[in-house]
Symmetry: C2
Subunit: 477 residues, 2 copies
């Protein structure tokens, strides 16, 4: 989309724009129903005045190629498109609308889109800042790698044997006893959830989760027809689980350590209670433990460490600690279950990147990973402290929060329910991107997930200032 | 599973085996319904006599932990398992059996399993031999890579921008005109099919394919409820398509260049006929073109090159040419469709390995890829020639085949319908692994997909000799 009209040509700028858009529709690149960028965006892209864009669009509307929808924008029409290309193209829009997998929520699509821009302050991003990634050390480790030719072929279904053995050694320090055949390498934790969804659950199965949940911002279970049930962990948990489970399969999804988005860390007792409540109803637990390496202080072992009967599917990853670009995580569970999920992974993508697996193996075995983690935790703690100080100075009359125990996030709660789509968009117009609480709990308009892991110190300062101004304005309305 | 009983211990070997198996069941590693390895396999693993294994299994059957099913094998019982662990473990077997995704066919699971073994001659493997992979050159290229820190973060939804631009340049040589926003990087061609299945089709959608099809050996569409319809490409094609399509969405899957498994190459006319027949019914075409770089002689452009209205979804990959371990392929189609599929990919695995993407970019841009391909084609041609000579000497009275035009395969057709599961297993007992025709067409008992790409020359010689002997034996029965 980097095309610009050529000022040297005889054809007018407006006419060149008309021809360019017509060509996009003709060759099926903009299908019927496509929403055009705003006039402002197009003018910027083309490097022309907005009035030139406006006149070009009017011309295209006049010939019936485009249409305006009030308050919504300009779209490629269904009619004109048919006329233009004589009903030969597949009706892609219908294909998209009737398909199985749901699109991301609009807010999340916008987040994905704006995270690609350089000029946006990202206050919510669940990712290490580029400066915190050990880029040079990873580059250096590439120079130390050497492969057996077989390593570059198709992987074994469960992933690199040496890596699986190294992961067993690694998780033993967390109190987890596992054998390599109980480990499957996955392309990140999200893929582990995807495999569990299609490999262990049927349509209509229940996925229990806490009311505020990372799972509401992604769709691995919803997209294949599972029912999400929010449940509070209280004294009635065991009873509620047994009542709600009934005849369908069920599974409990939990992030007991540095919960996303709330940052909470469960006590040992809370972990035990969940384990026992699920055991009583024979409900498997998915323990998502991708943040535990980022704890500022040691905590009790994960639920998986108390699992004596193969009830817990445990998920780990290097995405939050080393590099999300590697796309390497792991899933630990009973051998039969792991073999089943590995079989599906083979049918899905024939395994994860062999090179990425070799890199992670090298980092685990050489001790580079552990020493990197020590320095990373210190950086994150400094960032958390810096951010808290800003909050303390500016936000203490309008919001509350807990001191972070590790990871990336402060779950910032405003006194008033201000955080809606409009508020999100208003900040976006000022180049500040937040992760609003409602993507984790549709009912929640009090919270934002503030991340101190991604933005620079200057950006944190500036972004929080803009956030503060918008909140104050909203309060005055 | 490398455990062996310890001969130094006071406990008898038999008793140690009983305890080991009990522990596996207790800790949920062998769940109810698990089939045990054969006595012969267990005896080999344990390094004990088969009678010792037999006595241990009898003891476990006596206490009700295991049970024999006649003609099928020994299984972990449902009862004893309940008794042992007091109904606390989730009933994993039920989870697995009722879940959405189908397991691989047993023959394919066996192929996946035996492909991991060193002592097996692989006559069917659709993969380059380790000696054909440019391992050292890939290692060397790792030393030349340097990353922007952002490159190691989460990828943009459609994948590395530079790689997508390089792919556009690359496919232009095939006559395909595409812009980077029409390209989505995927973790291999199979993932592209998976994304199309859930992102563009609804349950019950029709996937048209040729009667003999790679798609019958994998499940991207079947597992999400699509209906596979085999169709012959003949003069009635247009009519058949329009009749069969009716109200459901439909898509046509084709491998026009070096078809898997048959090795066929369509003529320009055949491609045009399919394109027009599908256009008449507005059916999108999935053009799987992962083998075209391996053509021994140039052929006509792909269907995508004649696609003027965004009707063809084009799939490419480096898995067959550079390294399957990289897990990098690409999908090219109309922008709206690509954005949709990229959105789903973000929900599935947050993108492909950043390092793998950088490697492929480097190989494309530096010209290393093209010069590697030239040498690879020569190696494959030599291997094809060698294999044909063996066939000419030994198989010409019992089978027919066509001279390969490129790629990996000879679609070897035996005069008699000998190739069934029993034949497959018989060869496997002699450490020879084949890809029988029935995994590509359940009705087909005449063919095997012979690959000259994987086995060494010696192995090809020896494997084909064993294959010949088995065929002759079967003919005499």
């Amino acid at each position: 989309m980097n095309w610009q009209p050529n000022r040297q040509r005889d054809t007018s700028l407006q006419q060149q724009i008309v021809q360019w858009i017509t060509a996009l529709v003709e060759r099926g690149d903009w299908v019927a129903g496509t929403k055009l960028p705003t006039q402002r965006q197009l003018a910027m892209q083309f490097g022309v005045n907005r009035s030139t864009v406006q006149q070009a669009l009017e011309e295209l509307k006049a010939i019936g190629l485009l249409e305006s929808k009030v308050g919504s924008g300009v779209y490629v029409t269904h009619n004109s498109w048919h006329a233009l290309i004589q009903q030969t193209q597949p009706n892609w829009q219908t294909y998209i609308e009737t398909s199985i997998h749901k699109p991301n929520y609009h807010t999340i699509q916008l987040i994905n889109e704006y995270e690609q821009r350089e000029d946006v302050i990202r206050l919510g991003t669940g990712e290490l800042a580029p400066s915190l990634l050990p880029t040079e050390a990873i580059e250096a480790s590439l120079r130390e790698l050497s492969f057996q030719p077989k390593a570059l072929g198709y992987s074994s279904p469960q992933g690199n044997d040496h890596l699986r053995a190294a992961i067993c050694d690694y998780v033993r320090k967390r109190g987890i006893v596992a054998e390599p055949q109980q480990v499957c390498i996955v392309s990140g934790a999200l893929q582990a959830l995807q495999l569990i969804a299609v490999g262990l659950l049927e349509q209509g199965s229940i996925v229990f989760q806490e009311p505020t949940s990372y799972l509401n911002s992604v769709h691995p279970f919803q997209s294949v027809g599972m029912q999400m049930v929010s449940i509070h962990r209280d004294e009635q948990l065991a009873q509620t689980l047994s009542q709600r489970k009934r005849k369908k399969q069920a599974v409990f999804y939990a992030i007991p350590t540095l919960h996303n988005p709330t940052g909470q860390v469960w006590t040992s007792l809370e972990k035990k209670q969940l384990y026992e409540a699920c055991q009583a109803s024979r409900i498997p637990i998915i323990e998502d433990d991708v943040y535990h390496e980022l704890l500022f202080e040691a905590t009790s072992p994960p639920i998986k460490a108390m699992d004596s009967s193969g009830q817990v599917l445990y998920i780990g990853s290097v995405s939050k600690t080393l590099s999300p670009g590697l796309r390497i995580g792991w899933l630990i569970g009973p051998t039969t279950v792991i073999e089943r999920l590995a079989d599906i992974k083979m049918q899905t993508d024939y395994g994860s990147s062999a090179i990425s697996q070799e890199i992670v193996l090298h980092w685990l075995q050489s001790g580079k990973y552990e020493s990197h983690l020590a320095s990373l935790r210190q950086h994150l703690q400094d960032r958390a402290h810096f951010t808290e100080q800003i909050l303390q100075g500016k936000f203490k009359d309008i919001a509350t929060w807990s001191k972070p125990k590790g990871g990336f996030y402060i779950w910032l709660k405003f006194h008033e329910p201000l955080i809606d789509k409009e508020f999100f968009m208003k900040l976006l117009q000022q180049q500040v991107l937040i992760n609003p609480g409602y993507i984790y709990d549709p009912q929640d308009h009090h919270h934002i997930r503030l991340s101190y892991a991604y933005a620079t110190y200057d950006e944190l300062q500036e972004g929080l200032q803009i956030l503060h101004k918008c909140v104050v304005e909203a309060l005055l309305q």
